[in-house]
Amino acid sequence: MEPGIEAIFAMNPAAIYIGLAVLVVIALTSVAVRQRRGPLALDHARSLMGSLDIEAFRNLVDPEEEMFLRSCLPADEFLKIKRERAWAALAYARALSHIALQFSRFGNAARGSDDPSLAELGKQIAADAVEMRMLALATMGRLFIIATFPSLRLPSPQSLIEHHGRSIGLLARYSMLQSARRQTS
């Protein structure tokens, strides 16, 4: 046995298990408390969406833009620029990933609406947000690889941008439907 592992097991094993059990209970309780937080504002989801310059992100991951830079710059300079662009794109992907989480939370809350149309839209928003989150996480991984090894060629995350657009559309539909319902009631 490794000396480090031996040292751990030389401690009272029951104390380790009890410590782990307490940690699990604390973690679960904190999740439960967070789930019972106050109401979720539609304005917050909107402002998050507006805060992201998606055009800048699109430009950073545009394959044509990359080809243009490759043709204009010396190889060393190009790799340096590519690395910087990948780091910048990574920040955008992280922001998109966060937005996806908020969309998902919003969509799931909207699923509980008494209005069947709003509930259905909420379901779509939530499902779309999960897909967007998965794409954002995959894109983050890919961009990290590119930032570390800029000579590698990996596919552009266009589908993430498309998903973002689709989510905006769903949220806009939700907002309009909600306003229409409020006006008629």
Partner: protein, 253 residues
């Protein structure tokens, strides 16, 4: 002292099962037994198990000699059912998420494999204080099972949180209750593998039933008052929505 101890022990044994009948009733009333059949089965099984063990423990029936064997037999079924409930919650979360279902299934498989390996390693590397009684042997197995169940519940929360999947309120309550239950069981069985004094063993007897009581209260609480996130409706005028729609059109063009 002994009088109070016995009262607390008896309360912690009986009360959770009475509350469980309420849980079963609510599951039936809200037709949740259709959506969560394994959990409903588990709740019913726990009630029947309690009645059986309670009857066996009565001195006037002279069945005390069989108690340990019946207890261990029912414990094995109960443990298997708990795995079934965790799987059921998992299936319910990912049923509507076809895209993430494959990733989730593969991750669950690998996590289970990792946890089983961890449980085996824990048993192998901390096998210093063994005793050859049936209960001591069970404690080793149950500690491993508690490690796996604790890990699976944590994985469930972490993975759904990572993907932004919402655990619907009832499923969340179930998973939360099982998380508490398996954590307490982990601590309890870990201590059972140690040499304990009589007084420590007595206090320890209160731990699993106490933890079980908390878990049942959590299940009941989530069935009575489900946690719902409310949406704060926007007071902004329609003009802003139109402006927003224009932004979307610009984006699409």
């Amino acid at each position: 002292m002994i009088h109070w101890y016995n009262l607390v022990l008896l309360y912690l044994w009986i009360a959770p099962h009475l509350l469980l009948t309420w849980v079963a009733f609510l599951l039936l009333k809200r037709r949740l037994h259709v959506k969560y059949p394994v959990f409903f089965g588990y709740v019913c099984y726990e009630i029947i198990e309690f009645v059986l063990l309670f009857l066996v423990s009565q001195r006037n029936l002279n069945l005390g000699a069989y108690y340990a064997h019946i207890y261990l037999g029912t414990l094995a079924i109960s443990t298997a059912l708990r795995f079934g409930v965790i799987q059921e919650i998992f299936d319910n979360i990912f049923r509507e998420q076809k895209q993430s279902e494959t990733v989730a299934r593969v991750s669950l498989r690998w996590t289970t494999l990792f946890l089983v390996t961890l449980a085996i390693l824990c048993s192998v590397f901390s096998s210093g204080h063994t005793s050859s009684t049936l209960i001591a042997g069970t404690a080793w197995v149950e500690r491993g099972v508690a490690i796996i169940q604790c890990g699976l519940v944590l994985f469930l929360f972490l993975f759904s949180g990572l993907l932004g999947l919402s655990l619907q309120s009832y499923a969340f309550g179930m998973a939360f209750g099982f998380g508490v239950l398996s954590s307490v069981e982990l601590a309890n069985w870990a201590m059972h593998t140690e040499d304990l004094s009589v007084s420590a063993a007595k206090v320890l007897n209160l731990l699993p039933t106490g933890g079980y009581h908390v878990a049942v209260v959590v299940w009941l609480g989530y069935l009575i008052i489900p946690a719902r996130i409310r949406i704060q409706h926007s007071e902004r005028p329609m003009a802003e929505v139109k402006e927003w729609n224009l932004a979307l059109k610009r984006f699409l063009l």
